[in-house]
């Protein structure tokens, strides 16, 4: 399975990862090579097999909806790259 450079750029856009041209070229080759190794899966018959998402079959773990102590605003903002007036500061999303 050979990926084109455009496909690599499209995946990078979906993943929100900036790549330079060298990285695109390298990933094109490496990802194509890795995908070739996945071909063996298509030879395994799985029509009536349900998927496994995780191995310990527990669902719907619930607890009473009671207030619990939470982190302070100072704690939450402690690692913020940019903050202002007690908020995370971000660039405008819409122009």
């Amino acid at each position: 399975m050979a990926l084109s450079a455009d496909e690599v750029r499209y995946i990078a856009r979906l993943a929100r990862v900036a790549l330079d041209d060298d990285e695109v070229e390298r990933l094109q080759e490496q990802l194509s090579g890795i995908l070739d190794h996945f071909e063996v899966l298509s030879e395994i018959e799985t029509d009536d097999v349900p998927p496994t998402a995780q191995t310990f079959d527990m669902t719907n773990v619930e607890r009473p909806d009671e207030p619990q102590p939470s982190a302070t605003r100072d704690d939450v903002l402690a690692n913020a790259p940019r903050q202002e007036d007690g908020y995370f500061r971000v660039r405008a999303v819409l122009d």
Binding site: L41, F56, A78, A80
Partner: protein, 490 residues
């Protein structure tokens, strides 16, 4: 006190000495930190070596020792993989992305270790976000194998393994998503256990592949692995994937030997890909088990196991691509501020903050989950995962343990596999199936090949870590491999 403290000891030997008052936890920690700092010049096993806060922890342990309230880990030095959040101490995940990240809470495992009175030697080096098999993919430089500094210690928990193997600390914690505890344990000649999925809380552990990973112990004998697992295991209200299964005394079956144990050796793991020196060491270990009461069955097959590697390299990157979406430069971590738009800032934050292997896996996972490919890749992998689970269940119907080499080869040279991602992935061929099936597995030192350690891999039924540790303890009664040390560090 008579002379310097002998550091080349297990945790339970230190615990006995501390209780007998032969030395204090503070003196033990001072000696430990001095040795660790000295070894860092050649190993680079840590991203952060502990400072005075470790001596305060040691003083608190000494108080408990004096008051008769010490447990098996009280006052014992332990290294923490730098993927586990430590309140107030830098937690980088081996990434530039978290190069300035100081958690506001401890992860549950660290909370439990503090409660047990363990003393932290520092935050151990790892492949970035635990993605790798060599600890070369760390933004803070590669860790070196104490047996041969030109070789890797394995990964991703290579720093934890290297500092235990070098005698810096008797125990450490790592994480294992596809072999990241067991493979470095094998490469450095120590024991390493991946617990059953759901046995140990993942709360506060920097997430990579949530359906596969577990925190687990490194140590130099089965008793220490058992005590450390007992201290960190158990249900946690903060992690709904932890199992409400009681935590037993993992040493309870020590002394029962191999008698009555049915051990299966799957035919798929005896193939041509295994180095002769590794195969010889494992065969000698099998002979020890057989001569001492175990029943060995070589007519066991896990036919879908060969598909475990592609299944893993679809599921783990897919989960990673979702988990690592949180690194957007807004809430914490590395952040680019000078790009033209919000989207440019986010893409450059991620493009510059993540290393090559992390970007490769995010790309792979994003592709496997994208429209048009989801059924062929991600869903297909989840279905084959079901087949692999079923084959393990069938194999465990007639066997207490399955036995394989931990790795096909001994530790390789630094740089040897960095240009070929799939060759690197093949390291985890024998360890990945246990993560896919969610069952526990243990690597035990079983010999040397060309002067480098070989690991014996024991896989058990879900929540039967005690059987793995009983077998490892029995093996230690008949062999001395767990006492071997790197020549330079003895």
């Amino acid at each position: 006190m008579a002379g310097p403290i002998e550091l080349n000891r297990t945790a339970h030997e230190h615990a006995a000495a501390l209780r007998a008052g032969r030395y204090t936890a503070r003196a033990l920690m001072e000696a430990t930190l001095a040795l660790v700092r000295q070894q860092e010049a050649s190993l680079n096993a840590y991203i952060t070596v502990a400072g005075d806060e470790a001596l305060a922890q040691a003083d608190a342990a000494d108080k408990r020792l004096r008051e008769g309230e010490a447990g098996p880990l009280t006052g014992i030095p332990i290294a923490i993989k730098d993927l586990l959040s430590t309140r107030g101490t830098l937690t980088t995940a081996g990434s530039r992305m978290l190069g300035n990240f100081v958690p506001i809470t401890d992860c549950t495992v660290v909370t439990k270790l503090r409660a047990a009175g363990a003393v932290f030697s520092g935050k151990a080096n790892l492949d970035e976000f635990a993605m790798g098999s060599s600890t070369e993919h760390s933004a803070y430089g590669a860790t070196h194998n104490p047996w041969d500094p030109e070789r890797v210690p394995g990964g991703s928990s290579g720093g934890s393994a290297a500092t235990v193997a070098a005698g810096g600390v008797p125990i450490a914690v790592g994480t294992d998503t596809g072999g990241s505890i067991r493979q470095p344990a094998a490469f450095t000649g120590v024991l390493g256990l991946k617990p059953t999925y759901g046995r140990v809380s993942r709360f506060g552990v920097v997430a990579f592949a949530s359906s596969l990973e577990q925190v687990g112990p490194f140590a130099r004998d089965a008793e220490d692995v058992a005590n450390l697992l007992g201290a960190i295991a158990g249900v946690d209200a903060s992690d709904s994937t932890t199992a409400p299964v009681p935590v037993p005394d993992y040493t309870a079956d020590f002394g029962e030997g191999f008698d009555g144990l049915h051990v299966g050796v799957p035919v798929e793991f005896a193939g041509d890909g295994v180095e002769p020196g590794v195969r010889d060491a494992v065969e000698r270990a099998i002979a020890v088990l057989e001569a001492n009461g175990a029943t060995i069955d070589r007519d066991v097959s896990l036919p879908s196991a060969s598909a475990a590697l592609p299944v893993y390299y679809l599921i783990a990157p897919s989960e990673a691509s979702a988990n690592l979406a949180r690194y957007d430069g807004v809430k914490y971590g590395f952040s680019v501020h000078d790009a033209p738009t919000m989207w440019d800032e986010m893409e450059q934050t991620r493009g510059r903050g993540f290393g090559d292997e992390v970007k490769r896996r995010i790309m792979l996972g994003t592709y496997a989950l994208s429209a048009g490919y989801y059924d062929a890749y991600y869903l297909k992998a989840q279905k084959v995962r079901t087949l692999i689970r079923r084959e393990f269940e069938q194999a465990f119907a007639g066997h207490d343990l399955l036995l394989t080499p931990t790795t096909p080869s001994v530790a390789f040279k630094i740089g040897e596999k960095m240009d070929d991602p799939y060759a690197m992935y093949l390291n985890d061929l024998f360890t990945i199936p246990a993560n896919i099936a969610g069952v526990p597995a243990l690597s035990v030192p079983c010999g040397l090949s060309d002067g480098l350690p070989v690991g014996l891999h024991l896989i058990g039924r879900a929540f039967e870590e005690g059987t793995l540790l009983r077998a490892a303890h029995a093996y230690e009664q008949h062999t001395d491999w767990h006492t071997m040390r790197p020549p330079a560090v003895v």
